[in-house]
């Protein structure tokens, strides 16, 4: 194994911070030589510019480049206008991918939020809260790829009458006495099987954050509601949930973005076959398998468009919170 890269690593670790320090000191030295009234106006910009350059290089430039590529032919040599979008949006398999992303959006986001909330509220009421929460949070430590491999085993299928090696089918055939289900292949269940594996990974995340917010609710409020004669369910829906709403929105928007860029689980578990494809997997396939850069970029732009409303919503909420502060 060659060790050529070590000097570069040292250069990056030492050189980049050194260059930044030099830049700031140098720029400040220049600013201090300017007239006094200009200084406070310029200084913030000096500090922000490195970050702006990074954002421009890593986000804005790729975005514009992608938009441009999406208007080019397959090999990137001819301008074809919106033809890529036309062919993508009339391709039945892409429409299935869009439908699946909507499934992910609704069920993945919804289930993670609901499970997270229920588990947080329930865990709050038992003495062994710590261990329970740790257990549920644990899958978060596993990558989606590893989770995909695990769940492939869980969902594995053998013909009826054979020993079922998959956990789910083993339970399904022995406890419920049903014939085995090909969870990842049967069109009626496979998308939900994938989504369920993702929910398993992410529920812990929603639970931990919801739980933290729950601890922030003053007990007097709940007490007051109970004294006024509210049932536990009423307390939960009328007091707890509204107070948790901002937290749930934050988790929700994170999950929505995650649902839109779902890729790893699908890639590992079904490869997008059997009508389980999603947009991000399709984008990868067009790019890396088919070398169809135009189509791939067009799908990327569609995904970007889908994320924009979420971004706007997030920004609005952010501004709103700043305003009431």
């Amino acid at each position: 194994m060659s060790l050529d890269w070590i000097p570069y690593l040292i250069g990056a670790v030492v050189g980049v911070p050194a260059a930044l320090i030099l830049y700031i000191i140098g720029a400040d030295w220049l600013i201090r030589r300017l007239p006094d009234r200009l200084q406070p106006r310029l200084r913030p910009w000096v500090w922000v510019v490195p970050a702006l350059i990074l954002v421009a290089a890593l986000l804005i430039y790729p975005m514009i480049a992608t938009a441009w590529i999406s208007l080019l032919s397959k090999d990137g040599t001819r301008f074809v206008g919106l033809a890529n979008f036309g062919s993508v949006l009339t391709d039945n398999s892409v429409l299935i991918a869009i439908r699946n992303n909507i499934y992910w959006l609704v069920f993945y986001t919804g289930l993670v939020l609901v499970f997270g909330l229920i588990l947080a509220v329930l865990a709050d009421r038992v003495p062994y809260e710590g261990p329970v929460k740790s257990l549920i949070f644990m899958p978060m430590a596993i990558s989606f790829v590893a989770a995909g491999v695990i769940w492939r085993f869980m969902f594995s299928y053998q013909p009826p009458g054979q020993p079922q090696t998959g956990t789910l089918n083993a339970i399904w055939t022995s406890v419920f006495q049903q014939s085995p289900v090909a969870w990842l292949i049967d069109h009626r269940v496979n998308n939900f099987a994938l989504i369920f594996a993702a929910v398993w990974v992410w529920t812990g995340f929603a639970m931990v954050i919801t739980s933290a917010a729950l601890k922030g609710i003053p007990p007097e409020l709940l007490e007051a509601a109970r004294v006024d004669g509210a049932t536990e369910l009423q307390v939960f829906f009328r007091v707890t949930v509204p107070l948790l709403a901002p937290t749930l929105t934050v988790i929700g928007t994170t999950l929505v973005i995650f649902a839109l860029k779902a890729f790893d689980l699908v890639y590992v578990m079904t490869g997008g076959f059997y009508d389980t494809d999603v947009m991000a997997r399709r984008m990868y396939g067009e790019m890396f398998n088919n070398q169809n850069f135009g189509t791939s970029a067009a799908i990327a732009m569609l995904l970007l468009l889908a994320v924009v409303p979420v971004l706007i919503f997030n920004l609005r909420r952010f501004q709103f919170q700043e305003a009431i502060r």
Partner: protein, 433 residues
């Protein structure tokens, strides 16, 4: 901060950049050159390739840094786009090779290899398949015979069927298949098509075998050149003939759910269980190393044997689907040229052949190099194939091939969609994908 401290900081930075500049290029010059090589081979196949590489490394003092990936295409695309291609790579297939060649990414090999030796030692087809726009850009380092039908002789005998003279025609085979089913009460065929992003390919091999023997070599070649309509009646018949096997739960073990969810690497397992759950397995010649991986005690001839795919239309008798592993050069260097030249020699190819699992496309690798009578038989089939027809799927560009895989998976799941699937493939072909 005063200017003397600034000056010190500055000189430290300069010193570091000098250090980097000094260390950078000199570090790699010790010993021979390292060549980056990427290919799909893993496990036993990787060991065999490295065994093939070893004598060259010993002779030249250079070193091969081998990287295995099951998604070679994605890896190559990324590295080529990033301006950092490997020196050499095993290419996914002639179709993909042509795409890389047209992008100008592959180095022409005429001046690297010994062309006169290539032309005399390799069959003409093998050289032609590695050539794009008149330039040789890929060489075959091993080959396989597709569409062989494997069976366990002991189990077959117990059903009263005799394969010592293999069935000559598909109809004869189907008669035997029905006998097996009645005598054993089991499904005769084991089929499994799962293989990650390439799921479906084992099923496309069936379609190729049917199409070649039903529609004939000429049509087959037109198909390989992407000139044959996918929705032609001949194509539909080939798919439907496959459907008559795979979609018949009396003939295929476990039904469509088993076929779709089982990896081609383990699909044959029920054939070797006791009692067996199936009796026949259709696969390319490389599958024997997978047999012996799952069941290390299996012996060729006594525990598994094969016969070639039978004829359908006697007019096209002898035609045979073959495939092979291509190697190409992305970064030109004297060492890489020397390496690729070495790979084309019979001495290099003998190494893999002797280790099993490969047939050499080089005619100077004689039959006595093959480790057992079965691999000899497969090598003979390759030499005798008239004509040897290269895998028509591997000849397509990647988008079409992937769509072929996806199409057949969809067909197995839902045979009623056949027309829609074929029309979609045809649309992809004509849109100049």
């Amino acid at each position: 901060m005063n200017s003397s401290r600034l000056g010190r900081l500055f000189s430290v930075t300069v010193l570091f950049s000098l250090l980097i500049a000094a260390c950078g290029p000199s570090a790699s010059s010790s010993g021979g050159k390292h060549l980056d090589v990427i290919a799909t081979w893993s496990g036993d196949e990787q060991k065999s390739f490295l065994a093939m590489v070893k004598p060259w490394e010993d002779r030249t003092g250079n070193k091969i840094d081998f990287e295995s990936s099951r998604d070679v295409n994605a890896l190559l695309t990324t590295r080529i786009q990033g301006g950092n291609p490997p020196d050499l790579a095993g290419l996914p297939g002639p179709g993909q090779m042509a795409q890389f060649a047209k992008q100008g990414k592959l180095v022409a090999l005429e001046s690297a290899v010994d062309m006169s030796a290539m032309n005399s030692q390799y069959g003409q087809n093998w050289v032609k398949l590695g050539t794009v726009n008149g330039k040789l850009v890929g060489i075959f380092i091993k080959a396989s015979i597709k569409g062989l039908i494997y069976y366990d002789p002991k189990n077959i005998t117990s059903t009263g069927v005799d394969f010592s003279t293999p069935p000559k025609t598909w109809d004869e085979l189907m008669t035997d298949v029905n006998t097996i089913r009645q005598k054993s009460g089991q499904t005769p065929w084991c089929i499994g098509v799962e293989n990650g992003a390439a799921s479906g390919w084992p099923a496309t091999d069936w379609v190729k075998d049917f199409f070649l023997r039903q529609a004939g070599p000429t049509k087959y070649e037109t198909w390989g050149a992407a000139q044959e309509p996918w929705n032609s009646p001949e194509m539909k018949t080939a798919w439907q003939t496959f459907g008559s096997v795979v979609n018949n739960p009396n003939l295929t073990y476990g039904g469509k759910n088993y076929v779709l969810s089982t990896s081609f690497m383990t699909a044959f397992d029920p054939m070797f269980q006791s009692p067996p759950k199936c009796y026949l397995h259709h696969q390319a010649s490389f599958i024997t190393s997978f047999f012996q991986h799952d069941f290390p005690n299996l012996q060729p001839q006594t525990d598994f044997n094969f016969f070639g795919f039978p004829d359908i239309n006697s007019q096209y008798s002898g035609a045979q689907v073959v495939a092979g592993d291509l190697f190409g050069m992305f970064k030109d260097s004297p060492q890489a040229r020397d390496f690729i030249k070495y790979l084309t020699t019979p001495d290099a190819q003998k190494i893999w052949v002797k280790r099993g699992g490969a047939i050499s496309p080089n005619k100077q690798v004689t039959l006595d190099n093959y480790p057992d009578s079965q691999s000899k038989q497969a090598a003979k089939l390759l030499l005798a194939a008239s004509p040897p027809e290269f895998d028509a799927g591997d000849l397509q560009d990647n988008a079409l091939q992937t769509a072929f895989f996806q199409g057949i998976v969809q067909y197995i799941g839902n045979p009623s969609q056949l027309d829609a699937i074929l029309n979609h493939l045809e649309q992809l072909r004509t849109s100049g994908a």
